[in-house]
């Protein structure tokens, strides 16, 4: 993976650079930002996060398991309590709900990790510790023949530092 990294102090400069890079189709753009900003979301226009699906299917699986374990165990060890049926769905809703939340939430975190490609063993190219503090970074993954154009574009929009990495 090779490309050009632009280091910005100002938000609007980075957003303008991304917009122009997308129009010029110089390469895939990755943005580094210390805090989530909608300006980047608008400029990049990414697809919706699929993390919600993890919650849905994980939660449903958990809910089914919660009801199942309670009903199965009650039938396996049949003991009448308070004249209620062995598989009493009303009190077992507690298990259905709790396990729905448990598995649904853990699945959501798994979805976050999978789609964010975490855990990451190395910082890889294009990262700078200043991006977690206050500065913005724009990484353009492009072929060497386009690197000069990308670097020029980044500088034009106020990048304080532009460097090629691979």
């Amino acid at each position: 993976m090779r490309g050009v990294l632009g280091h910005f102090k100002e938000l609007d400069g980075a957003v303008e650079a991304i917009t122009e890079l997308k129009q010029a189709r110089l390469g895939d753009v990755t943005v580094f930002t210390p805090t989530p900003r909608h300006e980047f979301e608008v400029a990049i226009a990414p697809p919706p996060s699929p993390v919600r699906m993890y919650m849905l299917f994980g939660g449903l699986a958990g809910c089914i398991f919660g009801y199942w374990i309670a009903i199965w165990a009650s039938n396996y060890w049949p003991l009448v309590v308070g004249g209620k049926a062995f598989g009493s769905w009303i009190p077992y809703t507690i298990f259905g709900f709790e396990v729905f939340v448990l598995i649904g939430a853990l699945s959501t975190v798994a979805g976050l990790f999978i789609h964010s490609r975490l855990p990451r063993l190395t910082m890889m190219v294009g990262y700078d510790p200043r991006f977690s503090q206050g500065d913005f970074g724009v990484w353009v993954e492009c072929a060497p023949d386009r690197a000069a154009s990308a670097a020029e574009l980044l500088r034009k929009h106020g990048a304080v530092e532009v460097r090629s990495e691979r």
């Binding site: 805090t35 989530p36 308070g82 448990l102 890889m124 510790p129 206050g134």
Partner: protein, 477 residues
């Protein structure tokens, strides 16, 4: 060339209409919040006090294991005492954290931003503390895992119709989700610490804990979505957990317990007590670390309004209990409530009513809502009042059931008090260790409030910090 407008619209986090005028840039946020991680003599002294209390609690527990539960003052039929009271108390304390971090997040209540990290950590440690008490209450505590459903050679399964098994599921789910919620929110902040760290060993540990977080737009997009869904499922969870805890009582026919108001009554009480503990913690933290410009008086004012609201709900629940006892016409219930307020347990009931209903009415005064010293004193009385609320629920009912020949009394022993003190030591030990290792204010979320640096000044850019009066009532939310 087009100019990008700075428009703080539709924020990812609950920052709507909240401003921190004295916080000027991202560097200040990093520097001032990470400054709380430096150890100090006061921190070590407090940690020693907490660990000493914990050691006393452990020693008392060992004595109890050796001598039996009788040393804890149990006398039939009062077989629930300080341990169950403290269990409900600590679970309740844990509720405010999720309320502040999840429910207020969904409602876009901006004042949560600077206090929610403390509240979330408080939740995790409070639930960890609560989880100890049912185990402490067992005669053979080493067999606590029998409540967990797992395949075993005895082919025995727990009784799923028992509220105690409901508790196991509710509390363990709550602890897992609260911890997950806290840790997921911490990941970007741990990345900040990692990138600032000079010590190579500590840097490696932080790199491991941050999972290699790089602050890419992709990571933030999935993070925001995951955080939203975690908040969405934590909201009904927080309501369910204390409802389930209330079922421990409400499923019994005991006078004072067998009532349908218990779930909402317990949830409101839990949130009220939790907010009390948030004040107990956040006000000294704010003062000691000089974070008054992050946790402003406006934030405290808003939290105090929440405290007042929950106090009114709890007060209403107390009145409804009395009304239902009178209106229901059940003699045992009427006798029980009379005994609670004017009889044997009048002192506990009046401590509860004074601390939870009367003193919080002072928060109708804006001056007192914006007085951190008063809020801290009030929070201590709320903590005491809420512990006594659980005392009043547990002990008077068991000591005054249907049969007069069973009526008795109950007095906690030194073992109870030592273990209660030990639980505070356990809680504050974890909290102090947390404060030393992780930021007590969410760095990434605060940065979202702070206006970013721009090349082109724009009409929508907020005025300079000097144009705001941070301590002016009602400005920021």
């Amino acid at each position: 060339m087009a100019t990008i407008a700075y428009e703080p619209r539709r924020p990812n986090i609950a920052t709507a209409n909240v401003q921190l005028p004295a916080v000027r840039d991202y560097e200040q946020v990093d520097n001032e919040i990470t400054a709380t991680l430096r150890p100090s003599k006061a921190w070590f002294a407090l940690l020693m006090v907490a660990m000493s209390c914990l050691a006393l609690g452990i020693a008392s527990w060992m004595y109890q294991i050796q001598q039996g539960l009788g040393v804890a003052g149990y006398n039939p039929p009062v077989m629930w005492g300080v341990y169950i009271i403290s269990f409900v108390f600590w679970v309740g304390i844990g509720h405010a954290g999720t309320l502040i971090s999840a429910i207020l997040y969904l409602f876009r209540a901006g004042f949560r931003t600077t206090i929610y990290r403390c509240a979330e950590a408080m939740t995790v440690f409070a639930v960890m503390t609560a989880g100890l008490f049912p185990i402490l209450h067992l005669g053979r505590p080493w067999k606590f895992f029998w409540l967990i459903p797992y395949p075993n050679w005895r082919l025995l399964w727990p009784q799923f119709k028992s509220p105690l098994v409901w508790d196991v599921f509710a509390i363990s789910t709550y602890l897992t989700i609260s911890t997950t919620f806290l840790f997921v929110g911490l990941i970007p902040d741990i990345a900040v610490l990692r990138d600032r760290e000079k010590n190579p060993v500590r840097k490696r540990i932080l790199a491991f804990l941050s999972f290699g977080w790089r602050n890419t737009e992709r990571e933030w997009r999935h993070f925001a979505r995951a955080y939203l869904f975690l908040a969405a499922v934590s909201t009904p969870l927080v309501l369910s957990v204390h409802s389930v805890v209330s079922f421990d009582f409400a499923m019994a026919l005991t006078p004072g317990w067998h009532t349908t108001i218990f779930p909402p009554y317990f949830v409101a009480g839990a949130i009220f007590s939790g907010i009390g503990m948030v004040f107990t913690i956040i006000i000294p933290v704010r003062k000691y670390f000089r974070l008054q410009h992050f946790v402003t008086l406006n934030h405290l004012d808003a939290a105090a309004k929440l405290c007042l609201t929950t106090s009114l709900v709890v007060g209403c629940a107390y009145m409804v209990e009395f009304f239902i006892a009178w209106y229901g016409g059940v003699k045992a219930e009427q006798d029980y409530f009379w005994n609670r307020v004017f009889g044997q347990w009048w002192w506990a009931a009046w401590i509860m009513l004074t601390c939870n209903m009367i003193l919080p009415l002072s928060l109708f005064s804006q001056k007192l809502r914006r007085n951190p010293s008063w809020l801290w004193i009030l929070s201590i009385t709320i903590n005491i009042g809420m512990w006594f609320e659980r005392f009043v629920i547990v002990v008077p009912s068991l000591s005054h059931e249907f049969e007069p020949w069973q009526w008795t009394t109950y007095a906690p022993t030194w073992v109870d008090y030592s273990i209660l003190l030990g639980s505070f030591g356990w809680f504050f030990m974890w909290f102090l260790l947390f404060v030393r290792q992780f930021p007590v204010i969410a760095i990434a979320e605060v940065k979202e409030i702070v206006p970013p640096r721009l090349r082109h000044a724009h009409a929508h850019t907020p005025e300079t910090a000097d144009d705001f009066e941070p301590e002016t009532p009602g400005v920021n939310f």
